[in-house]
Symmetry: C2
Subunit: 148 residues, 2 copies
C-alpha cells in the first residue's frame, strides 16, 4: 500500500485572505489520487459541497458573500477563477484536482473560461442562504471599502 | 436567483447499511449544479475527501475498512461500484454527480469499469490510517460473519 505524504502547500495571493492550496497526490498504475484532509487544507468547517458541470461559455459566480467561505477545485478540465477584494483583483487558472482556491467572505468571485466538460467542486461553510449573497458589484465595493 | 430544493432522496440497497443518495440539482443556462448538504445527505462527519482520476482499466478499492465511512460520487464520466457485506453483493452504476453511494464500515468495496477520464469523488470520515484497512477478502468474511 502506498504511503501518503499528506502535507498541502499554501500559496499566498495578492487578494486579501485568498490563498491557493496545492494538495498532495498519490500516483500509481491505477491513476491519480488527490487528497484533501479538511482540517489541514480547508480553513473552515464544510457543511455543503456542490459540483458544477459548466457549459463552455458559462460565467459563474459574479457575486460575493457576507459570511460564506468557499474552496474551489476544478476536478476535471480547467477554468479561470477571478478573486477580488475590492482593491486588488487576481485571476487564477484552476487546472488540477490537486489545486484548490480558498475564497473568504467578502471576496467577489467569478469563474469563467471553462474547458468543455469542466467540473468544478465547491466546498462551502454553510447551506444556501439567499440573504448572504451580494450580487451588485457597487454594493460590494461600498461594503468592502468600509473601515472594519 | 434560482431557489434550491435541497431534499435528497434515499434509495435503499440489498447490502447491509449501504444506501444510494439522489442529490438535488439546479439546472440553468450555465450548466448543472449538484448540491450536497452534508448533514442531510452524508451520514457521517467528513474529515477528508479524495479525488480519483482513474485509468480506464483500473480496479480500485478491493478492501474494507474497520471504522471508515465513505461516500462515493462519480462526478465526471461513470464507473461501476460493488458493495459486499459478506453475505450480499450488489453492483451499482455511478453515472452522475447527483448520485452518491454510502459505504459503511465493514463493507467490501470495489470500483471498476471506469469510463475514459472518469473522476470519482470520495468523502471519508477520517484521515488515512493503514491499520483500518482489511485487504484480504477471507479475513473480511471471517470478521463480517462474526456475531456482533
Amino acid at each position: 500500500m502506498a504511503s501518503q505524504v499528506l502535507e498541502s502547500t499554501l500559496i499566498p495571493t495578492r487578494v486579501a485572505g485568498v490563498t491557493l492550496r496545492r494538495l498532495p497526490e498519490v500516483h500509481d498504475s491505477r491513476g491519480l489520487l488527490s487528497i484533501c484532509e479538511l482540517t489541514r487544507s480547508v480553513p473552515f468547517e464544510v457543511r455543503r459541497y456542490f459540483v458544477v458541470t459548466a457549459t463552455a461559455d458559462a460565467c459563474r459566480g459574479t457575486h460575493a458573500h457576507h459570511k460564506l467561505h468557499q474552496f474551489l477545485c476544478c476536478i476535471h478540465g480547467q477554468c479561470h477563477a477571478i478573486a477580488d477584494d475590492g482593491k486588488t483583483r487576481e485571476e487564477f487558472v484552476l487546472d488540477s484536482p490537486s489545486l484548490g482556491l480558498y475564497l473568504p467572505p467578502m471576496t467577489w468571485g467569478t469563474q469563467h473560461r471553462f474547458s468543455p466538460g469542466a467540473v468544478l467542486l465547491v466546498l462551502a461553510s454553510d447551506v444556501f442562504e439567499e440573504t448572504d449573497y451580494i450580487c451588485e458589484y457597487d454594493e460590494f465595493l461600498t461594503l468592502a471599502r468600509r473601515p472594519r
